[in-house]
Symmetry: C2
Subunit: 418 residues, 2 copies
């Protein structure tokens, strides 16, 4: 069953999601007659609803090479939750209509848990509407909270960037601690899963240096124990580096950094756990402190992408096209680890139903008993993922990131009145 292919990006973007996009387009071109045109939905699923599909046929090989090394999402992404199909299926039906209007037979949805769920649902409604579409989920998320896959493309580059930054900041603080900052707090992403915070633990390669305290969303924050550990660390080594996940929660179950705002999915919008902790250190211990809020820098730091992550991102893109052409509906290419050292891996097919809406947290065995650090098992898992430096090319001191020529396909349907 030949036809066109539609690729869409969903949720938070990463440093390597465009490498997946470039791999999808490249693989589709190599697939010859099996795949017609490759479209990219403008701003994710919203572009599908609105019949706003970018063309890619005019992109040159050089365009694709630049795309491969450009952070962010080239087609635009979105945070938009479709209405539950059993309450109101108009959005899902509209999606099928748009796919049909553009002769799209393959739908590749590149995202996290929510997106796997969306792809799963679209795969079912297409058949019911008499327009079967092969739906493939393509993994991506800096949070690394997808189940089944060894890692989510995007995570390892953010992890590498944060681990390297932690190692660098440690040298800085150590140099200055006698007369300057005693406590440094770095806030990293991770609302429910503390994988990025865990990754900074790699910075302390030989057990010396920071981070001295890692705060995970998986471990309930205990103010007294935290303050005691900070003071103990300052007493012992002169300074203390703390890494805090944005999603750290107190004993009442509330986020320490809850700002009272929510996003389109009803997720609480966080930010500011570092400043909450800094205020605590200030008021309760009176120790001079600084804090950093890395925010989007960590998920867009393509300048320090992990080579392993980049290979993963490309491989899931290629495999997704292969599965689509082979007619494997409702699946996701995932990464399977074969060995830790040397790191060997392969791509295998997983069912979207196994993945949709399941969050993969940092397991207990990866967190030290005191709750403030990572175990050797965690190091064995994380270490190979950050291996290799996949640098972009530079001109005039700056990376050559792509400004690709964007051109929308002609709309085929009346405007969406969603």
């Amino acid at each position: 069953m030949a036809g066109n292919l539609l690729y869409a990006q969903s949720g938070g973007v990463t440093a390597v999601i465009n490498a997946t996009a470039a791999a999808v387009i490249g693989a589709a071109r190599e697939a010859g007659d099996s795949v017609g045109t490759v479209f990219g939905a403008r701003n994710g699923i919203l572009g599908v609803l609105r019949d706003e599909l970018y063309k890619t046929d005019h992109w040159t090989e050089e365009d694709l090479r630049r795309l491969d090394q450009t952070p962010g999402g080239v087609f635009g992404s979105c945070r938009y939750k479709l209405k539950p199909m059993d309450e109101d299926d108009r959005e899902h039906r509209r999606i099928i209509e748009v796919l049909k209007a553009h002769d799209v037979r393959y739908f590749l949805y590149n995202g996290g848990n929510d997106s796997a769920d969306t792809a799963f649902k679209i795969s079912r409604i297409g058949e019911r509407m008499g327009y079967p579409v092969t739906c493939i989920g393509v993994p991506k998320t800096v949070d690394n909270d997808l189940p089944v896959t060894d890692a989510s493309p995007g995570f390892a580059s953010a992890a590498k960037y944060l681990a390297v930054s932690a190692a660098e900041v440690d040298k800085d603080i150590y140099s200055m601690h006698e007369t300057s900052t005693k406590v440094f707090i770095m806030e990293v992403m991770g609302r429910h899963a503390g994988w990025l915070a865990a990754a900074t633990g790699l910075a302390s390669r030989d057990g010396t240096g920071g981070p001295h305290i890692i705060l995970f969303p998986e471990v309930t924050f205990d103010e007294a124990r935290f303050l005691e550990r900070v003071q103990g660390c300052v007493d012992e080594v002169g300074y203390c580096m703390v890494v805090a996940s944005e999603g750290v929660r107190g004993e009442d179950g509330n986020f320490l950094a809850d700002q009272g705002k929510t996003d389109a999915f009803g997720h609480r919008q966080l930010g500011g756990v570092a400043s909450v902790l800094a205020d605590l250190v200030d008021s309760r211990l009176g120790l001079k402190n600084h804090h950093a809020l890395v925010d989007y820098l960590q998920r867009s730091a393509r300048h320090l992408a992990s080579a392993v992550d980049l290979e993963h991102a490309r491989a899931v893109g290629r495999a997704a096209v292969e599965y689509a052409v082979a007619g494997h509906n409702s699946v996701m290419p995932v990464i399977e680890r074969l060995s830790d050292d040397p790191y060997r891996w392969q791509i295998r097919r997983a069912e979207l139903s196994e993945i949709a809406n399941v969050e993969h947290m940092v397991p207990k065995s990866f967190i030290t008993e005191d709750g403030f650090g990572i175990t050797d098992a965690c190091r064995r898992y994380l270490r190979p993922l950050i291996e290799g430096e996949a640098y972009p090319t530079y001109a005039d001191g700056l990376p050559v990131y792509g400004n690709l020529p964007m051109e929308l396909a002609e709309s085929r349907l009346p405007a969406w009145q969603g």
Copy 2:
């Protein structure tokens, strides 16, 4: 006049100050009989007062290579202001006594404006006490606020890191702006001089993309004009990236981010201008926003050092030793620009008296008339400084930063009762 050499690091450390240290040690070794032992003061001038001098003779060439690529200050640095010599000269006299006790004839002080002043004073009191010491200031500061020199080593690496980060975050925000963040605010260092903020302007290479608004300490903050510009930018291009110097001041002359704390120099300790601006955008415009506080990450990001900066850092170290051996007292090696494109430069000798306590701000001609951007003249100045990527070597996914064997020389004097 042969003798030992004492090198000390002062004030905020940088990604390349250790490259200067390694160059000093290397050049002193090459100078043969002219220079005896090279000492490094522990925690800057405090180590001199306390007679705590690290030895370096046991460091191998491999140690020096690792030092060259390690951020932070290997000997430790400090923020400590000597008492004014005309009020109480005991500290300055003690410094001369320690130098004398260790047969130090060359004193190299690697720092910013305050350090140039200290080196200048020590050069004078030595002669008065009958123990002449050749004092050399060695330039360093991420703030780039030293006069005379084309750039301060350390600045250009931080500038490159911030410009690259701004380019990356711009791609990220652009991808997501329809349904997510509309306004992103990145806070960078720069208390009085907005050089680092200015450098992020390079990210917008062809006039498209962020940063759309740069806030300099040199330009009085006008809330109404700022909010109008943010809203206008969001209306026009869909999103707005703001870069704010920590030292932005309002019309009352106060820092927007004044936390009411001061450091050892009586400088106000800042932090949080981004969150102040985010609150404004929230409450006055109701636009979804995120902010990043880069903090120490920007001055320790050795993983993305500018090759030009690294060459500068090494060159001032080598020249400082050369000037010392030649008996040029009370001078500083500075960088002189010979041409913009291609960038050509040389090291020349400047008098410490020209440099001490003079702050070099971003000139009016470098800031656009509206106060929110950088001019072509500014780009011509900045562009060559961030050229070239001086990557460190890696092992297991992390940079190989040095943990050098630190060994103190035996104290020669009674403990300091300062």
